[in-house]
Symmetry: C2
Subunit: 341 residues, 2 copies
């Protein structure tokens, strides 16, 4: 079985975009009366089926993957838009939509939720939505280290500000993928600058602190192959050493995992050379940030299964990357899908 741990619903029914546009306009105008009613949303099962079958499901079939851990569009979370109530309504709508996809295609998708984060609002306020989604069968969440959308003006993820949320994650036994959303800072291209910087930033924050002493069973996935981290693995090992921290494998790698969203063979080769195989989860983020075909290979950039297939690793290691590690990290999967083999 091949589990893709990083997929977003980026082909949503068009009325969702109409709603969000109106909601954003009302929020920006601070005009509560102009807020579109949730009940006005028109997204039929047929529309959802069409959007999924012609895209993610088709690509699953073509590329030979089985199950996608599926969450709302990451850039669409837009936690900086409006206030907490705007973020909460939008988040509930997006998560409910994921639940509908999972209900329609229970063998192909399993849910991960976005959270109703908002600038300056304590992460503990997102606990209720996490609980609601886990009750619906979701197996994890996407946690945004920067609700401001590119200004990073909240406490780092190692600050006690985040602790109540981590306590709930541990209690519910769900991991978080650390994933920023759209950038509203003109310095940062969303998927090319802000995403990768968010990954690098989060891991470096974890190096400087001792978060996993306080939460030994807390689990984070750093997407996009860990941002810049594996490429600079020597730098990060050296910085940890200068900071008198333990070896990174002991300091962080019982709790932190990387996905394989790296869109060329040399990058995947490097990832597997420096990061232990137990810490790597297969993922493609399709349909996502990069949609074209690589003229150097003739294949889709984000068809990451090809790069993993090309690795000279043992069958056992390949099974870990494709399935075993995801089952271990997203441990609630065991209630949802039977073990293969």
């Amino acid at each position: 079985m091949i589990i893709d741990c990083h997929g977003h619903y980026t082909t949503e029914p068009k009325d969702l975009h109409r709603f969000r546009k109106e909601q954003t306009a009302a929020a920006n105008a601070k005009d509560k009366a102009a807020m579109p009613p949730r009940s006005g949303l028109k997204m039929s099962d047929d529309e959802i089926r069409e959007s999924i079958e012609g895209n993610q499901l088709k690509l699953q079939r073509e590329r030979g993957t089985d199950l996608t851990i599926f969450s709302p569009r990451a850039s669409g979370m837009g936690h900086h838009i409006g206030d907490e109530s705007v973020s909460r309504e939008w988040t509930e709508i997006c998560n409910d939509l994921i639940h509908r996809v999972v209900t329609l295609y229970p063998k192909n998708f399993i849910g991960v939720c976005q959270l109703p984060q908002s600038p300056g609002v304590p992460p503990k306020n997102a606990i209720a939505e996490l609980e609601r989604c886990v009750k619906m069968g979701f197996v994890g969440c996407n946690l945004n280290p920067d609700a401001s959308g590119g200004y990073f003006n909240q406490p780092p993820m190692t600050d006690k500000w985040w602790y109540p949320f981590y306590e709930k994650m541990v209690e519910l036994d769900v991991p978080a993928m650390i994933h920023v959303s759209m950038s509203c800072n003109p310095n940062f291209h969303t998927t090319g600058g802000h995403y990768i910087n968010g990954d690098t930033t989060a891991f470096m924050q974890l190096i400087t602190a001792d978060l996993f002493k306080d939460f030994p069973s807390l689990k984070f996935i750093i997407p996009h192959g860990g941002g810049a981290i594996p490429y600079h693995w020597g730098r990060y090992r050296g910085i940890a050493q200068d900071l008198k921290k333990p070896l990174l494998k002991d300091h962080l790698l019982n709790n932190v995992f990387f996905d394989t969203c790296v869109y060329h063979q040399p990058g995947i080769d490097l990832l597997f050379k420096v990061i232990p195989v137990d810490n790597i989860l297969f993922a493609s983020e399709m349909v996502g940030a990069v949609r074209g075909i690589d003229p150097e290979t003739g294949n889709y950039y984000d068809d990451t299964k090809r790069y993993v297939d090309a690795l000279k690793i043992s069958d056992e290691d390949r099974r870990k990357v494709f399935e075993g590690n995801a089952r271990r990290v997203y441990s609630r999967l065991k209630n949802k899908i039977p073990a293969s083999r």
Copy 2:
């Protein structure tokens, strides 16, 4: 000849730190009367000699490099501290100190200047200092894409706001290393988060625009091996393609170069696999961000010459990386050092 294009004076005489501490305190207190006088600085030639001979010069000898392109401590630029006048005074002092090092050791060091940038102040205000330094024999500058120290609240580097400075760079025929300074944002560790993010951000900004159509001979060096860029080279090629930009090699690689400050062999291997050898300049950033010995190799993390020596590349390519590319990019070097061989 082996040219290290990225070295900072990180072992400065201690009175420089005393001055900066007092200057910072006065700036923060907005107390002009408390500003320390520049004339009070006590840094003898003997002190400078001692600081260099026991450190950078010793390491040059031990590691077998010949010439370091040398600039003030990058984290010390601190453009966010005080106002433009504070930044200007501090910058002049730091650049004058580099000039003294170069004057004492003309065979071993050549100067690159910091700039008197300041939050919200147009880059054109840094032209006078660039001209002053070039007159003193400096061959380039370090340009900070984020004078705020981690909040990125100025226009991106492709904005016309920067153009007058680029015009002067072209006129003087000097390149810029794009290098952030210390982070005052608790989310970003300076050398582990902010530096690498700054590199990635800058390159991504360049992808989205057409800066080099306006400045065909403008040259930038992205340090720290290009941040996350080479590891995600497929992602960046794909994003450029989705944005209908030319191939990156045509779009940016006539003007953008990467250094070799990547502190482990797999990272250097990847860099050379994906980036054309003509775009790679040897560098170590010693004595810099990572000062320890890698327990996996028994060598200093930042002894990057070992990694380059271990590459299976032709002698001609090695000469380009060690010398030829630096001479091409820092073209004023030709007036300063005779061609080897």
